[in-house]
């Protein structure tokens, strides 16, 4: 299939870039240093309609195509990875409802999420269940018209600032995680729900990564997503799409580091000439630029496949996240090298970008999990997949 960047995409990019450079970039270092969630930028993004890009117009969203949503994440991440997570996690938290929600559930939650009045989060990971999602232990026990949720979650992005969370818990522990897990919509003000602790992190430090506790949290049956036992499938279908946002974020981080490198090398004088005039630096910049562009185009190619519901979607989104995440890590590491000693200190943004880049190799499936997904799809295509 083909994909096309339209004049509308470029217009969107110009709009988000202006906003990012003028309003977000000046805040990035402070957000990182203070580890504070940027509520002011959340309000700004909401006002510019950038938190509602994945929602239908009837719910107050703008219903951008997936390339458009990628451009939004990319352009914000180019100046600040933390802030790019605000639209990214809004979509991640809402995707289980988009994929499996009833009209009543969508009508109840989407208007407040599309306007940015409410934030969403996705609560799947547990302390002992990271890549091995099926080993989840949190319980949901049916009691009349309610489910009663007990247990805890860990590493939940925006878990402490979200107003509504999509939460995964075992309704049939005997059947195990794959067949016995169900998905629920939980409002953060429900009694028994708490976010007692946030992690102290290497990167994306303004984005709170929370531990969540559920102590007899009563959730009405009307807030179950899909049927009992469909939680694992809903989680996987969510991640097959959401990890593309991380690819876009990674592309943005890489582009930001590249731009900072070119600007610095053109300004810095050593041995009587601009550093950028040394071929050794030019070779590095050329590699950084072409690798970033390759990751970007793979991300858009995958985005186009999300919109047509391609049957081999996981192949594309996992490939994109794998390539873009590794590219972000490499390009930001090289950016620190181009800036030399200045790259290693907080006066310039590239050390922050390098710390931020690392998370794109870890969350929404580690790079190793992406490789397993790509390989599984590859073997299926070739008809040599292991049976059973």
């Amino acid at each position: 299939m083909t994909y096309l960047l339209t004049p509308e995409h470029e217009e969107l990019r110009a709009m988000v870039r202006d906003l990012a450079e003028e309003r977000i970039a000046p805040r990035a270092a402070e957000i990182d240093e203070k580890q504070e969630f940027p509520w002011d930028l959340k309000e700004l993004l909401a006002k510019q309609d950038l938190l509602g890009t994945c929602f239908d117009e009837r719910h107050g969203g703008t219903n951008l195509d997936t390339i458009g949503q990628s451009i939004v994440a990319e352009e914000i991440a180019r100046v600040d990875a933390t802030t790019s997570l605000i639209p990214i996690v809004q979509k991640l938290g809402a995707l289980p409802i988009i994929l499996a929600g009833t009209d009543a559930q969508k009508d109840r939650y989407f208007p407040r999420l599309a306007s940015g009045e409410w934030l969403a989060a996705f609560a799947l990971t547990e302390a002992a269940a990271g890549s091995d999602v099926a080993s989840n232990r949190m319980r949901a026990t049916r009691d009349g018209d309610d489910y009663v949720l007990n247990g805890s979650k860990r590493f939940i992005t925006h878990g402490s600032v979200a107003n509504v969370l999509t939460v995964f818990a075992l309704t049939d522990p005997e059947a195990g995680g794959r067949r016995g897990m169900s998905a629920f919509i939980v409002e953060a003000d429900t009694p028994g729900f708490a976010a007692p602790r946030v992690e102290h992190k290497m990167g994306i430090r303004g984005s709170p990564t929370a531990e969540l506790t559920f102590d007899d949290v009563r959730v009405p049956v009307a807030n179950r997503l899909g049927q009992d036992g469909e939680g694992f499938r809903i989680a996987m279908e969510t991640l097959d799409r959401s990890r593309l946002s991380i690819a876009a974020q990674a592309v943005g981080i890489a582009q930001g580091a590249l731009d900072a490198s070119v600007a610095y090398a053109a300004d810095r004088q050593q041995f009587g000439q601009r550093v950028v005039d040394f071929e050794g630096i030019q070779f590095m910049l050329a590699d950084m630029a072409s690798q970033t562009e390759a990751a970007r185009q793979l991300t858009y190619a995958a985005a186009a496949r999300v919109d047509v519901g391609a049957s081999d979607l996981p192949y594309w989104t996992s490939s994109a996240k794998l390539v873009a995440g590794d590219t972000a890590m490499k390009v930001t590491t090289d950016a620190v090298q181009v800036l030399g000693g200045y790259g290693y200190i907080t006066e310039y943004p590239v050390e922050r970008m390098m710390r931020d880049a690392k998370i794109t190799q870890l969350y929404e499936g580690t790079q190793q999990i992406q490789r397993l997904i790509v390989a599984r799809q590859l073997l299926q295509r070739a008809g040599v997949a292991k049976r059973g």
Binding site: E11, M15, D18, Q48, D49, L50, T53, L64
Partner: protein, 260 residues
């Protein structure tokens, strides 16, 4: 109360600009933006619309076909509709010809307030607002840090040597505002999407009843030379030093040039 904001599409700020053989700016080689000072006029008009003082905001621009992009960007910020006056006979138009065309278009649009930025970022003539007011025989309220409309009167607040003056005139007026009116808003995503559906008309000179002869080749003035500014000597930087050491270096530098 109807406002028409006159906007100009100019080359992006801070990029290398080239001239064509006839000494006009090569507009195909650079990105174009709304003249940044015009964005303040847009913001002022939209604030009056938000407050319910203005019933409609129309944008007017004279320029090549691609100036429609600037009008769409303005419409994405807000406002109702736009008019682009474009005609081959207008190539190379100077301030006089521009004012003549805008005045004729404003006669047709008949606004209560024709609002403009205080200068353009490229030519910086600052002659057009005054010329338009004179040609239309309406008052000019210039360099307002704020524009207020009260019934049939418009007032601008203008900074003066001793404080500020309020200058008022009966509508209709031509008014210009400075960058003190407040930061221009960003277009929202919904604004961008809505702008595509807002009316944008294109007028030629004939629609304004102006003949090409009347425009005298679109200019009374002629550019005789154009060249980029001379390159400055490289900046010497004194940085990453303790304050006392840096101060000594700066003092030595000034002393060596007999400046202190």
């Amino acid at each position: 109360m109807k406002i028409v904001v006159c906007i100009k599409q100019v080359p992006a700020t801070g990029v290398d600009k080239r001239y064509t053989d006839d000494l006009t700016l090569d507009r195909t080689s650079v990105d174009a933006i709304i003249n940044p000072l015009d964005e303040y006029a847009i913001e002022q008009a939209l604030r009056l619309a938000d407050a319910g003082t203005a019933d409609s905001v129309t944008y007017l621009s004279m320029g090549p076909d691609q100036a429609a992009e600037a009008l769409r960007r303005a419409l994405a910020m807000g406002g109702d509709d736009a008019v682009l006056v474009t005609d081959r006979a207008l190539a190379g138009a100077d301030e006089w010809a521009t004012a003549k065309v805008l005045a004729a278009a404003l006669d047709k649009l008949a606004p209560d307030v024709a609002l403009m930025g205080m200068a353009s970022d490229d030519a910086r003539g600052s002659l057009v607002p005054g010329a338009v007011a004179a040609m239309r025989d309406v008052p000019l309220l210039s360099y307002g840090s704020e524009l207020a409309i009260d019934g049939t009167t418009a007032r601008v607040r203008r900074l003066s040597a001793t404080g500020f003056d309020w200058i008022s005139a009966a509508l209709p007026v031509v008014a210009t505002v400075t960058d003190q009116v407040g930061e221009p808003r960003y277009a929202s995503l919904k604004g961008i999407m809505a702008a595509k559906r807002k009316p944008l008309e294109t007028w030629a000179l004939a629609d304004l009843g102006i003949s090409a002869d009347e425009l005298k080749g679109a200019a009374l003035t002629r550019v005789t030379d154009a060249r980029p500014p001379e390159e400055k000597a490289p900046t010497e930087r004194i940085e990453n030093l303790p304050a006392a050491e840096a101060a000594t270096k700066i003092a030595d530098w000034l002393a060596a040039r007999k400046l202190i």
